[in-house]
Subunit: 342 residues, 2 copies
């Protein structure tokens, strides 16, 4: 698997990453929100004992205990999509196991006891599912999963019962957004049991025209069916976005180029940049790269900026707590350095 | 005298140019709007005969007859501030005599029979007045000026009677404009018999934050008094603008730098630029140069762009009639070339 942030990929690929997560719980142990810190930390030990059973996992993975970290460092893991908001909320008894390449994370004491997550670059759900399944099997050898013959895996929230699987694909859809077609896409997607969320999951806005399309239903379908349905929906959305882009360039060639080049010009020269404007401009530049209009900016630089310009990462990079205005200043400086001196 | 467009001047000088014009009419000849083409062309001959009397004037000056030119070429003379809207309106019987350096123009059959105009760079009204006076004397030797012992020079419009002199200074006042203080300045200036106009004189908007301050009163004051009053008012306005800039950079350092650098970034990268936005951005960049924030753009480049991005000049440079969108495209291209390849 490839770390999506560090992946160059194909320039015309609209998919940033493919993610699988499996929700698992242990039998006869209270769900995390009912568990005290002592119980939570014992569970972490149990999961570690089940996981670190070979030199392979011992060498390539490590456990990060959130309560041992500062707030900003934990926020950064969230900004990198390695952990969820729920895990952050349980800092005092939460941990995650992560590989050195930051493509796999096993969250412990999230909403569920265990959440196995894999992310790779581009559209490749099968590879991620394969790896997550292996980790799932490894853990299941030693841990007593809460499983019902009829219902499948039992989870804290009923929406996850069954496979406990959520597959999601992060896609860049600027043209459908600009031309106000995203509402139509959202409605269509909902009708086939899928859901569309923003850059940072449930409840987050689709800032920077980046959307996460994922399955809503986890029960009554096999893992393979969920993944193949999602892939079909994503393919259709990609087609619509590409058609919309062709239309845009045919009808508004100069206006589109203007928008794209100005965005790059502003990113290279601004002194203050707030997060919303930053994501909007990065999206315009990404569109330029994807359409072959901008040739001297790499996707890797854009992926890194997408993460590194988040509030927490900015503060971690400059190693101090910054005011909103200082963050806008540091964000602009970081972007100028990355884009001008590239 | 120095052509204001080609002048580098001091970077911190807010004055672009100083202009003097003298309105003169001939005795017993109808005013231009009452004159037919034949009469108008005869008058042009008479003025030429009076003017071209030495090898000096014959070598360095030439007559341009508007009816011999295309519309765009005549518009370009207007955009360069060499002729007035009124002269353009009389194309079929209007001409002007101009020096090779384009600092002096003698308009014939404008609102008045003769308008002697001199423009130089920076704040130097005396030098211009001196030269205009010499040309006035030269013409007066051969021509019978309409002059009344009590009223002075007689003119078509009563507001010009007396000295027939209008002195005006073109100043860049972005900070007073941004901070909404121009209305106060306008009121104060009007009370001391001065008037403030836009970049292209009477009735034109103050686009690009460039204003022309000039005397309103031509009667009851000597030429010297008019000029020294105007200089006093202009000095005061310059002081206020400079105070306003100091205040701006003290209170809004980063916001001001952001505005300035973004303007340069957009000018260097835009694909489409309409005239209003173009002047606004050029003003922001000029402010940056004047404040020492931008160091690698010269005033000469900015002065040239101020003129060359006008609709007519754009079309002359590309040698064809362009639609509004084609002009926006050509304007942006021209600016990119001048600023990026400088």
């Amino acid at each position: 698997m490839e770390n999506w942030i560090k992946s160059q990929g194909r320039n015309d690929d609209l998919v940033l990453s493919s993610r699988i997560r499996l929700a698992r719980n242990l039998n006869k142990i209270p769900f995390p929100h009912k568990m005290d810190e002592e119980g939570g930390k014992k569970l972490i030990k149990d999961v570690e004992n089940a996981f670190y059973t070979s030199s392979h996992t011992e060498d390539k993975f490590k456990t990060i205990r959130l309560w041992e970290n500062g707030f900003i460092d934990n926020e950064v893991f969230f900004d990198k999509h390695l952990i969820s908001k729920n895990l952050l909320d349980n800092t005092s008894k939460a941990a995650f196991i992560v590989d050195e390449n930051e493509t796999v994370s096993i969250m412990i004491n999230e909403e569920d006891h265990i959440r196995i997550q894999g992310i790779t670059s581009g559209l490749d759900l099968e590879e991620v599912q394969d790896l997550c399944g292996k980790i799932d099997n490894l853990l299941e050898e030693k841990l007593d999963y809460a499983f019902d013959e009829n219902l499948g895996y039992l989870t804290t929230c009923p929406t996850n019962i069954g496979t406990g699987l959520r597959a999601s694909v992060m896609i860049h859809l600027p043209s459908l957004t600009i031309t106000n077609k995203m509402n139509g896409v959202l409605n269509a997607v909902t009708q086939v049991g899928m859901t569309v969320r923003g850059l940072y999951g449930e409840g987050s806005k689709a800032r920077g025209n980046i959307y996460q399309v994922s399955n809503q239903i986890t029960l009554g379908l096999s893992e393979e069916e969920i993944i193949s349905n999602l892939k079909a929906v994503v393919s259709q959305i990609i087609n619509e976005e590409n058609l919309s882009r062709e239309n845009l360039i045919r009808k508004y060639k100069y206006e589109t180029e203007d928008r794209i080049y100005r965005a790059l010009g502003i990113l290279k020269s601004a002194v203050l940049l707030n997060p919303d404007e930053c994501l909007k401009l990065l999206s315009d530049v990404r569109l330029g790269v994807e359409m072959g209009i901008i040739k001297d900016v790499s996707k890797v630089v854009l992926n890194n900026l997408l993460v590194d310009t988040q509030n927490a990462v900015i503060q971690q990079l400059y190693d101090k707590k910054l005011s909103s205005k200082e963050r806008d200043l540091s964000r602009a400086k970081l972007i100028r350095e990355r884009l001008v001196e590239k």
